[in-house]
């Protein structure tokens, strides 16, 4: 037990907080206000950490669990921020049979985070994706706009080092 997804300290600003309150007051009396508020909150903060969900819970007087349940149901909502470098691991069929699962595991091991999470220093986040259309290069990962193809587990450490 204990609060999970707490890898990155929350760094919300006054401005973001004010923006969120504006969004909440805009939708507050609408039927089904929660979803649009959560979507706009994610636009403001980039993700929905407990601090943001708590503000929504307190303002709308909706249980935090209800908000968390929705946030974990829809994959469009994220509980972790995106890193400065977003690592996408293709887990499409071609990459998968070429060992993308092992590469994903190696990344998680080296960075100490899970899929969908961000390192505590805010530098790297990992997200798995489906086919990116470069099956000829399988297995493929991308780091922001850089594409790395035909990589092996042993290449992973070197790739990360480029962004240190």
């Amino acid at each position: 037990m204990g609060i999970k997804q707490k890898t990155v300290p929350f760094t919300g600003t006054r401005q973001q907080h004010d923006d969120l309150l504006k969004v909440i007051s805009k939708h507050k009396d609408d039927k089904g206000a929660l979803m649009p508020i959560m979507q706009e909150a994610q636009e403001i903060y980039g993700y929905l950490p407990i601090e943001v969900q708590t503000i929504i819970s307190n303002e709308l007087e909706i249980p935090l669990e209800k908000i968390y349940g929705i946030a974990t149901f829809y994959s469009q909502f994220s509980l972790s921020p995106k890193g400065k470098y977003i690592i996408s691991v293709c887990l499409g069929t071609a990459c998968y049979v070429k060992g993308a699962g092992d590469i994903s595991n190696k990344l998680k091991e080296l960075l100490g985070i899970d899929d969908g999470e961000c390192t505590p220093d805010g530098k790297f986040s990992i997200e798995s994706c489906r086919c990116i259309g470069a099956c000829g290069l399988a297995p493929v990962i991308t780091v922001n706009d850089d594409v790395y193809g035909k990589i092996t587990v042993d290449d992973v450490e070197g790739i990360l080092a480029k962004y240190e």
């Binding site: 037990m1 204990g2 609060i3 999970k4 997804q5 407990i50 601090e51 969900q53 708590t54 819970s57 307190n58 909706i62 249980p63 935090l64 669990e65 209800k66 908000i67 968390y68 349940g69 974990t72 149901f73």
Partner: protein, 582 residues
Amino acid sequence: METVNVKINGISLDVPKGSTILEAARLAHIEIPTLCFLKDINEIGACRICVVEVKGARSLVASCVYPVADGMEVLTNSPKVLSSRKQTLQLILSDHDRKCLSCVRSGDCELQKLCKDLNVDDETFYEGERNHYDLDYSSTHMVRDNNKCILCRRCSAVCEHVQDVGVIGANDRGFATNIACAFDMGLGETSCVSCGQCIAVCPTGALYEKDNTEDVFAALNDPEKYVIVQTAPAVRAALGEPFGLPIGTNVQGKMVAALRRLGFDKVFDTDFAADLTIMEEANEFLDRVQNGGKLPLITSCSPGWIKYCEHYYPDMLDNLSTCKSPQQMFGAITKTYYAEKMGLDPEKIVMVSVMPCTAKKFEITRDDQNAAGVPDVDISITTRELARMIERVGLNFLALPDEDFDDPLGRSTGAAVIFGTTGGVMEAALRTAVETLTKEELPNPDFNEVRGTNGIKTATYHVAGMDVNVAVASGLKNAKELLEEVKSGKANYHFIEIMGCPGGCVNGGGQPQQPANIRNSVDIRAIRAKALYDIDASMSIRKSHENPAVKKLYDDFLEKPGSHKAHELLHTTYVRRTINTI
């Protein structure tokens, strides 16, 4: 009433328009099995156990939510229906911890019964990947074991829609879906109020109280300890159920006999302390009315309600009566007055309470509940735990004689026994407050306006030239509605009774579970409450201030209600809490 004609399994009958197929079938004496359905609380048609064939429909329909129509033809047990139900059960079992032998619900598990009824002969039919969850022991009163959870959502529906708390719900999706708290906090880290209504409606062994029966047996077997038990009013109206007696059977006499045979040194009655509570609370009420104190005064007997108030209405803590609950008053008097009288060392007394309640397990751990310098109550067990203790030692409960409580803390009145149902504390307080104010005997001690299972009841009584406005709420969503009226100034009450569980303690979170098909078709709150009102009506003394043992307690020890000593021993304080922790 407008009716429609339907044909169920070939039998033609007229049923009220708007009925569901489930309700219509019941009128034809066919009980369609259900799992997720709780009438008015969880009507989501999700579990697919109640499916039936409707002629002309594209697929099987969920009878719990599907309304009847004129001329509809329904088959409730065709081969297609039975095979679908069986398959659904096999799929549920494929991700279910099937340790039935040691499960707390073995024997009264709704899933187990369905598997037996529907002849699920291979519980490993869909064996495959399984979810494995850590058990949640973080709260004081209960355990959550998601490995036994079937995702029916009865618990989260009750928590959110009946109790207005909503600290548990469905997280994640698909195969990973699990019932838990926000951010996977432990239940003990949330604003859970410990009411245990989730346990009362759980069909399986996924939710259960923390078991303290072994602690009680250890105390009973310790020659150094003097073990005293007290039993709450509502326990006697439900303890017979696990032994096969009809709902609402009063088993007070057998309960006392069983406790004596379990080895308790004294078998006392929480009802004594209920009378004492009335003395203190009626005095507090009159004092607030006459001296301009904070009104409305709100009762403080229900620890689930108290915790709710602390989390959700911290600005109304001054409205709460400062009286400890009867459980705690009982412990306080036992370890001071009774210990002194009998020459017992309070340190060696083990005060055990049997309660219809799980929040009582939390209450005994609260601060400012230790009149003798040791906790007022040491162990609090539920009605269910007492039933398990009786079974464990092989007592033939039904064959036990009817015995009486021990003196003097077993003496009580009709006013005390109705504490176990919504409106009972109010009625008991009115009997004493009115006679105190008017100095005349009430011609009839019944206050029928505050009886019944309605969520909110109100009444105005003309007493000694004054209009006294009272309100009674049970179930925390109803409490919220009432409190919002008070806060907005829409209502002007002098005295409010609130009980955390719908219907009051008779329907408490620690009472024997009744399966959904019973809960959906009869009002167990009203039937159990009737047992208490019948006891009240049969008693020679029906007003708390006439309890001779309570009078003697004041004469010998406490002096008078609201005295300095009474305040020290019988009153307590509350803490401000928040809903969310960040």
